[in-house]
């Protein structure tokens, strides 16, 4: 380096010109809680347990999702459908308890692929943060879709 270069000043002024230009560039920030970035089509977010066109839960508690889950995040307890519950559950068997541990879940989407009844999809939003581990075990109250509006 010659003396002029060893002063570093020309290079520094050049760099400062570049950074100054960036002050007036469009900012990339997305104001997250208020504005959400658009997700791609194959984005996998929070799970939802689907209902069929008559508003009945599609899940039949076969356990294939739990079996396919590489993180072992899904547990369920099956129950038999009683008389008079035909408008609630589509098949004779249904999941009385269906829990996903969101801390274990890796959002791989294998449960979605395993499900023969098209009952589970990872089409929800980002799983929100929480304070306690127990609050990350999501039950049916959080997972099942809203009932159909008649």
């Amino acid at each position: 380096m010659n003396f002029w270069e060893r002063l570093y000043l020309p290079a520094i002024f050049q760099g400062m010109g570049i950074t100054f230009k960036h002050m007036f560039k469009k900012k990339e920030t997305v104001f997250y809680p208020e504005v959400e970035r658009e997700f791609s089509e194959n984005w996998r977010g929070m799970h939802s347990l689907k209902r069929d066109e008559q508003g009945r839960e599609r899940c039949t508690a076969c356990g294939l999702c739990a079996l396919s889950c590489p993180a072992e995040a899904i547990t369920m307890i099956a129950a038999e459908r009683q008389k008079g519950e035909e408008n609630l559950y589509r098949e004779e068997k249904y999941a009385a308890v269906y829990e996903i541990n969101m801390l274990r879940c890796i959002f791989c989407g294998l449960c979605e692929e395993a499900c023969p009844k098209e009952a589970i999809y990872l089409d929800g939003p980002i799983v929100p943060s929480d304070y306690l581990r127990k609050d990350f075990i999501y039950g049916k109250d959080k997972l099942v879709e809203e009932p159909l509006k008649s």
Binding site: L7, M23, E28
Partner: protein, 345 residues
């Protein structure tokens, strides 16, 4: 000493002290905002409108953090370090002339705490004391990273004080006085010293970056090599004091540079403004101009920080000893020869 004089000085000191604290406080916000804008981001904007209360939130957070004093540290020195750092940062503002004399109720009030005739030497003394806070804090932590940071701070500050002093000598050849008030008065209107000492100003600027430990000379606290440097072991408000001292130092050195080289409170057309606005508002406008210059320098400090990467240690020493000192000496020689020839003509 009359009572009015004591009250006047007391009020002035209080105002300047709180002003430099407020400026330093909002420099932390400005730093984050400017960093964000230079990187195509927005910066903190949640606390208050546009993030205005972010410094208060940061300060409150600092106070509520757990205060840890390492078991093997030397406790007295551990506490003395940050105290010394912030003390030396704060007392530098005493000799800076903040404006022309103003006339309040028939009394001429000087907007300078004290006009000592060795003003520049005082500033130098205070600045070189500043490194003791860092050194003591780093040594008392009983941590090798802190010690490394303290050693670097000491050698860096000593190395860069030499070209800083030499660049000031060239300025003194031009001005012929050490009093900051007189230096400022000589720069009336547009006769700013930057026009006579451009090289001296650049040297002084580079050295003041090194003296305030700002990037690209932030080797005492470089995170990538030394964890946190001299403040690795510090927590809570003691850490806050170290960080805050840096911002106050930045404010003071901006004020010194504005005063020495950019005319302080002088601006072109000031006589006309002073006649039009009267003896109270005219000087206050000059004060506003001085603060505009100071803020421009603070912006420059931050702009450089977010542009230039940190120097390697040998590069730092090479720049200090092999480039800046020869340049400063050359500057003195050229200035001396020029003044001699100019006087003969």
């Amino acid at each position: 000493m009359e009572l009015a004089f004591v009250i006047e000085k007391f009020v002035l000191i209080t105002v300047i002290f709180s002003l430099s604290l407020v400026v330093a406080m909002y420099s932390t916000l400005a730093e984050r905002k400017i960093a964000a804008f230079l990187q195509d981001r927005i910066g903190p904007n949640r606390a208050g409108p546009g993030g205005m209360f972010q410094p208060l939130a940061d300060g409150a957070k600092m106070f509520f953090k757990e205060e840890i004093i390492p078991a093997d540290s030397s406790k007295f020195l551990f506490i003395a370090g940050p105290s010394l750092a912030i003390l030396t940062a704060c007392i530098g503002s005493a000799v800076i002339p903040w404006g022309q004399n103003i006339l309040i109720a028939g009394r001429t009030v000087s907007l300078q705490v004290t006009d000592i005739n060795v003003g520049i030497l005082y500033i130098f003394g205070v600045v070189s004391l500043g490194v003791y806070g860092v050194m003591i804090g780093g040594w008392a932590s009983n941590n090798k990273f802190s010690l490394m940071g303290a050693i670097r701070a000491a050698s860096q500050n000593i190395s860069y004080e030499i070209p800083m002093g030499l660049s000031i000598i060239a300025l003194l050849l031009v001005t012929g006085t050490l009093s900051l008030k007189e230096i400022t008065e000589q720069q009336h209107g547009w006769h700013w010293n930057i026009l006579y000492q451009p090289l001296g100003f650049i040297l002084f600027l580079v050295c003041s970056f090194a003296e305030t430990n700002r990037t690209p000379f932030d080797l005492p606290e470089c995170e990538t090599e030394l964890v946190g440097g001299y403040h690795t072991e510090y927590s809570s408000m003691k850490l806050g004091f170290f960080l805050f001292a840096e911002y106050i130092n930045m404010f003071i050195s901006s004020a010194v540079m504005a005063t020495l080289y950019f005319g302080g409170y002088n601006y072109p057309g000031m006589d006309w403004v002073n006649n039009a606005m009267g003896p109270l508002w005219g000087p206050l406008i000059g004060m506003v101009v001085l603060f505009a210059k100071i803020f421009a320098f603070i912006f420059f400090f931050m702009w450089v920080r977010w542009t230039v990467p940190r120097f390697r240690y040998d590069q730092l020493m090479n720049l200090g000893w092999k480039v800046l000192i020869p340049l400063a000496i050359a500057n003195i020689v050229i200035t001396g020869v020029w003044i001699t020839i100019y006087d003969k003509l």
